[in-house]
């Protein structure tokens, strides 16, 4: 129980961190320097697909937790592996998007859209990356037999974090990719 409460508190404080970044993004969206033209460079379709994959990783993790509770360690490992795979693909997608945007000459110092876009999505990517590292450790521990008995709160705790990262992306995706298209 202590672990879970700790993780709830951590994601609470992380949520406010992301709110601040989103606040900055929206703040600039109202400023004249915000370049709507550059927003058009974003590829909502391909990013949408990668987003779906990230959301799918929440599902696979949920399956992993279920398997763990039932004591099916083999399945746990499989679902964990799938989760890591999906997360990695998402990061790959983000890298791909950054690459193409840099080719379009949108850098972090180009204008304040670039500034707030890279910062917001970059910090989310960083959280995904940290999540992947944690998941890899969990997978390693599972392989070492640490989770043979379903009495640990570790998997559940890591799950809180991983679902949180997905929820943050849901909000970021809506604010950065969807809403400007609807409202502008």
């Amino acid at each position: 129980m202590e672990n879970r409460l700790m993780m709830f508190l951590v994601i609470g404080t992380e949520a406010i961190f992301f709110l601040s970044l989103i606040f900055a993004f929206v703040y600039f969206a109202f400023e004249p320097g915000y370049d709507n033209h550059t927003w058009q460079l974003l590829n909502i379709k391909s990013t949408g697909i990668f987003s779906v994959l990230l959301f799918a990783s929440s599902f696979t993790f949920w399956r992993a937790e279920k398997s763990y509770k039932k004591g099916e360690v083999k399945r746990l490992k499989r679902w964990l592996f799938a989760t890591i795979g999906l997360g990695t693909v998402f990061l790959f997608g983000q890298g791909r998007e950054y690459w193409s945007l840099l080719h379009e000459d949108l850098t972090i110092s180009k204008n304040n859209f670039g500034t707030s876009f890279y910062t917001l999505t970059g910090f989310h990517g960083l959280h995904v990356f940290i999540g992947l590292v944690i998941l890899a450790i969990v997978l390693k521990l599972a392989a070492a037999g640490d989770f043979d008995e379903p009495d640990s709160s570790v998997i559940n705790t890591v799950g809180i974090y991983w679902h949180f990262v997905d929820v943050v992306w849901l909000v970021v995706f809506t604010v950065v990719y969807v809403l400007p298209g609807v409202l502008l």
Binding site: M1, L5, F23, F30, L183
Partner: protein
């Protein structure tokens, strides 16, 4: 003057002179059948629940309805519909955080067994999943202030036809407000959420509300088109110049009303919960353990 009546679901019945034609803003009282129907329906609901008798707390319930009637038919509503975003916001807040909690608080205590079961079921769902009520309360607030939805809620955006949106708006605010208040003020004390969880519930609601308020306060003028449109009844000069409420000030005030006073309502609620909890006598049951219990088994 017919088109003026379109601003609610049904034609309005002016109380003092023709709507919008009164010499002073304060003369624009208007009874609208849509709202009257809603109030009648809610009164009927009370009688249905209570078995036709007025029980303890009926004053709160009907007080809520009278407040609703006042908000919807007074010049505040007139201003809200035609001139002031801030008046519109005051109306929202009163319905969401005034009328709706009053209705919930005033629900009859003695109800028939069937009704009892329904109330218990609703209470159980809401107290086990407090985020549901939270999401309703905050979600509806955000939803109606998405610029496109907001502008659509006014008849000005529609060329013809009867616009059901304003009535829907009122009703949805009332319902969301009730669902929001339920886990805290609900009729079955056994199903109210843990007061400390309640503090968190209200504080996060305040954050949600503040963010929207902040957004509206600092957003550039003109993202909500409705109040920038033409002066329909000739009060523009009085309001903009006489009262000094320019369009920019109006939008700021609207945002700030949602941000600051609205938060004080939530915060006062938090403190009320906390105070009751701290001063309660031992052994007095205040709440039942709910499904979501952040503090675990140890309080």
């Amino acid at each position: 003057m017919k088109e003026l009546f379109l601003y609610d679901a049904f034609a309005g019945i002016p109380l003092c002179g023709t709507e919008g034609a009164a010499d002073s803003i304060w003369g624009n009282w208007l009874l609208m059948p849509g709202v009257l129907l809603l109030i009648a329906g809610l009164s009927g609901l009370y009688l249905l629940l209570s078995g036709g008798k007025l029980q303890k707390g009926a004053g709160l319930y009907f007080g809520g309805l009278v407040l609703l009637l006042l908000v919807q038919s007074s010049p505040l509503h007139f201003l809200a519909m035609h001139y002031l975003f801030s008046a519109h916001m005051v109306g929202h807040i009163i319905i969401l955080l005034g009328c709706a909690p009053l209705l919930v608080l005033g629900l009859p205590e003695q109800v028939g067994p069937d009704t009892q079961n329904i109330l218990a079921a609703v209470s159980k769902v809401l107290s086990q999943r407090p985020w549901l009520g939270w999401l309703c309360g905050i979600g509806v607030m955000w939803f109606w202030h998405v610029t496109a939805v907001f502008d659509a809620a006014f008849p000005a955006a529609l060329a013809t036809g009867v616009n059901l949106l304003p009535l829907l708006l009122t009703f949805s605010l009332l319902l969301a407000g009730a669902l929001f208040a339920w886990p805290i003020l609900g009729p079955l004390p056994a199903y109210r959420i843990n007061p400390l969880l309640g503090v968190l519930y209200l504080f996060t609601a305040c954050v949600g509300c503040s963010l929207l308020g902040l957004l509206i306060t600092f957003a550039p003028l003109g993202i909500y088109h409705h109040y920038l449109s033409a002066d329909a009844y000739g009060f523009d000069g009085l309001i903009r110049k006489g009262w000094g409420i320019t369009a920019a000030v109006d939008q700021q005030m609207a945002g700030l009303i949602m941000w600051v006073p609205c938060c004080f309502v939530y915060l006062s609620g938090s403190l009320y919960l906390l105070h009751n909890w701290l001063t309660a006598k031992d052994g007095q049951p205040l709440w039942k353990e709910s499904g979501l219990n952040l503090e675990g088994d140890r309080i």
